[in-house]
């Protein structure tokens, strides 16, 4: 997560953000896409900051999330009209915030700005330091950021529903069990940009959530079964049950649990292990 073990100069950052926002306010020549990108960055930064708070402010989070959605929708409509996909995901480098310093400088160069505006996608080249500055993110990542924050608010806040007297009339009172059921149905149905488990999204390395190690995503899941004692490297053939009974406790060579391939193969071996256990136990 952003900020974990990552020192950045907060005062510099704040100064630059203040400089950028007053540039937004005062400059009439700032092109619209750049203004929009600036607002989007500020929104995402705020949401990120709130995510780190124990109890984020619901009112503010909702307002900011709506602003992000509005910008997202606008960008989506524009990209539908244009053949080129605007702003695919980019990895903010660890110097992304210091990169804003460079964007602060670049704002004073009109030629640089117009180049950014028209060649939004061409700025992805690593050699150009300016492209790191504006945290260009994808639709999915924005949605997942919003979703995960709002979802976290629910989890943190509303463990017990308010006490209420059941009305004697025809109205259907809202029972907590119904809402819980509905939530699960919705999760299975939801597709597209509105990802449900934002923090569980296994993005490619160029995503906004790049700083998340894969291990952290699976923190909540008991992955002890996939640990080194049970996994095997891809090249080993599946063992026959008879061999397994002779050496049931042989330690398999350890493998990196973050490899998806290994997980697949470990699963195969796991069912074999079950089979072995059945034989041992004689059930």
């Amino acid at each position: 997560m952003l900020g974990r073990g990552l020192k950045r100069k907060l005062s510099d950052y704040e100064e630059n953000m203040a400089g950028l926002s007053s540039a937004f306010d005062s400059s009439r020549s700032l092109p619209y896409p750049l203004k929009r990108q600036l607002v989007l960055n500020m929104c995402l930064t705020k949401l990120q900051t709130y995510k780190m708070l124990v109890e984020p402010n619901l009112h503010r989070s909702v307002l900011i999330a709506n602003t992000v959605r509005q910008i997202q929708e606008e960008m989506r409509q524009e990209s539908n009209q244009q053949p080129v996909n605007i702003c695919p995901g980019i990895a903010p480098s660890s110097h992304s915030y210091t990169g804003i310093e460079s964007s602060g400088i670049s704002l004073q160069l009109p030629s640089g700005i117009s180049q950014q505006e028209s060649n939004c996608c061409d700025l992805r080249s690593v050699e150009d330091p300016i492209e790191n500055s504006l945290l260009i993110v994808s639709d999915d990542d924005m949605s997942s950021a919003i979703s995960s924050i709002l979802k976290d608010l629910d989890f943190v806040e509303d463990i017990s529903p308010p006490t209420c007297l059941v009305p004697t009339g025809d109205d259907q009172p809202k029972f907590p069990e119904n809402t819980v059921l509905k939530l699960e149905d919705d999760r299975q149905d939801s597709k597209g940009a509105e990802c449900v488990f934002g923090s569980f999204e296994i993005s490619n390395s160029t995503s906004y959530l790049k700083d998340l190690a894969i291990d952290d995503i699976f923190e909540d899941i008991d992955t002890s079964m996939y640990d080194s004692d049970f996994c095997c490297p891809p090249l080993m053939p599946p063992r026959s049950p008879s061999l397994a009974t002779e050496e049931p406790l042989k330690t398999f060579p350890s493998c990196n649990s973050s490899s998806a391939n290994n997980i697949q193969i470990c699963r195969t071996d796991l069912s074999e292990l079950d089979h072995i256990m059945e034989i041992l136990v004689g059930s």
């Binding site: 607002v39 109890e55 909702v62 979802k151 463990i159 209420c164 009172p173």
Partner: protein, 453 residues
């Protein structure tokens, strides 16, 4: 009928200021709510430290006809303490979000005060007599030697120095998952509502262990949440009617007789967006921070970030009047978003009613740089005044201020860029019966009166 009405016709004079003088503001001293009681004799403030301070107006001195009674401290008590919710691992702030007075029924005064989670009913009573002349005890409490008691006497009440006691009579807890933003006492004086970000509950003042949930806008899936409740108030005359405002700039009027759960509004007040003013921040600045019914209940006033709007309850599609509080901030919205000022929740209030002014005709609200604004609905005039210790002499008429939005700054004008956005006036209150106003800066309470000739 107009008489002494009019924001510009009234000449406001400095009367008093309460609070610490130094610029270093202690966090706990930040004033978070201000409210006059129904007679105007008492003025309550709540602060971030969970304390309530009540000021009492001196009885009018008939010989000193040029000024109304001063407000002096009457009672101070700790209303709410910081709490820790162990289940959710969260601190519950003790800051007093709102105070609402009950109308006086007997010698004691009652008020409701609330923080984010818990509402409390406080009884404030006076003790100015005490019994003297006990048979078995001396006056200092020591027991008398029984052998010295030779006669019996009846204890009598003798005057003592006035003691004001505050005691919590009811505690209404555990009904709000989200942060309480409003409480409003019903015109039946038996029930009241409390509103948080997503729900509104109805309470009976005598019953603390349960409440009715009358509004619930929480979606089944929190990811679909796009709107929160920002304020709620009961109609002043109709005990089954209340309104609540939202972060999207809408106001819903609900009738509790229609259904137990008021999910469907009777009326929806919403103004279509002005396309020429559209910006990235349009939705944020449309969020309503306060809603107040007029005295008659025919109108209501809402405050959003840049304006005050007056709505006729019979017209849902647009307000009847709109007053710009600080339009010069519209071109600074990005900076104000960046420093979070755009989320400041300004309140608003109506004028009081006296024999001369029988209608809600002036609105008052706060701004930055310790400025506050008044708008006269009849004359359409407005004025900007400043709460500062520089105008310290009593009966000094406040000089109107002016902000220079752009261009050449005239003498005595202040440019937008010199405004101090840390000095914000969020809470103001108007005496219900006289032209006395209470204006809260960050940690000071200013009292202004109109100039009496």
């Amino acid at each position: 009928f107009l008489g002494a009405g009019g924001g510009n016709d009234i000449q406001w004079c400095f009367s008093q200021v309460k609070g610490a003088v130094d610029d270093d503001v202690a966090e706990a001293d930040i004033i978070s709510t201000v409210e006059f009681n129904h007679s105007g004799e008492l003025l309550a403030t709540g602060d971030k430290g969970g304390r309530v301070v009540i000021f009492q107006q001196e009885q009018e001195n008939k010989t000193q006809s040029h000024s109304r009674g001063e407000y002096n401290v009457y009672s101070t008590f700790q209303s709410h303490e910081p709490e820790f919710d162990y289940l959710k691992s969260l601190e519950i702030e003790e800051k007093i979000n709102k105070i609402r007075w009950l109308p006086q029924k007997n010698a004691a005064q009652f008020l409701l005060s609330t923080n984010d989670k818990t509402i409390k009913l406080w009884k404030i009573s006076e003790r100015d007599k005490r019994p003297e002349g006990y048979n078995l005890k001396e006056e200092d409490g020591r027991y008398r030697d029984p052998t010295t008691v030779t006669t019996l006497r009846v204890p009598v009440f003798r005057p003592m120095d006035l003691m004001v006691e505050a005691s919590p009579r009811r505690i209404f807890a555990n009904a709000h998952t989200y942060h309480i933003n409003s409480i409003s006492i019903n015109s039946d004086y038996e029930t009241y509502l409390s509103a948080d970000d997503l729900r509104i509950n109805l309470w009976h003042l005598e019953i603390t262990d349960r409440s009715f949930n009358i509004v619930d806008i929480k979606p089944a899936n929190m990811e679909e949440l796009t709107e929160v409740i920002t304020a709620a108030e009961f109609h002043p005359n109709s005990c089954s009617t209340f309104v609540y405002s939202s972060s999207k700039g809408t106001i819903r009027l609900c009738d509790m007789r229609a259904a137990a759960l008021c999910d469907r509004h009777s009326k929806l007040f919403e103004e279509p967006e002005d396309p020429s003013n559209r910006s990235f921040f349009s939705e944020i600045i449309s969020s309503i921070s306060d809603v107040k019914f007029s005295h008659s209940g025919r109108y209501m006033m809402t405050r959003d970030y840049l304006s005050v709007k007056i709505w006729d309850l019979n017209m849902e599609n647009r307000p009847v009047e709109t007053y710009q509080v600080h339009e010069y901030l519209r071109s600074k919205l990005c900076s104000l978003y960046e420093n979070d000022c755009i989320f400041d929740k300004f309140e608003c209030c109506w004028n009081g009613l006296d024999r001369q002014v029988e209608f809600s005709v002036i609105v008052m609200t706060g701004s930055y740089n310790n400025f506050f604004r008044m708008f006269d609905r009849n004359s359409k005039r407005d004025v900007t005044l400043e709460a500062s210790r520089e105008n310290n002499k009593p009966r000094t008429v406040l000089k109107p201020r002016k902000v220079c939005a752009s261009g050449k700054r005239k003498k005595d004008e202040i440019s937008v860029d010199s405004l101090d956005f840390n000095k914000k006036i969020l809470h103001t209150a108007w005496h219900p019966k006289e032209n006395i106003i209470a204006v809260a800066t960050t940690n000071n309470l200013y009292i202004f009166q109109d100039k009496m000739n």
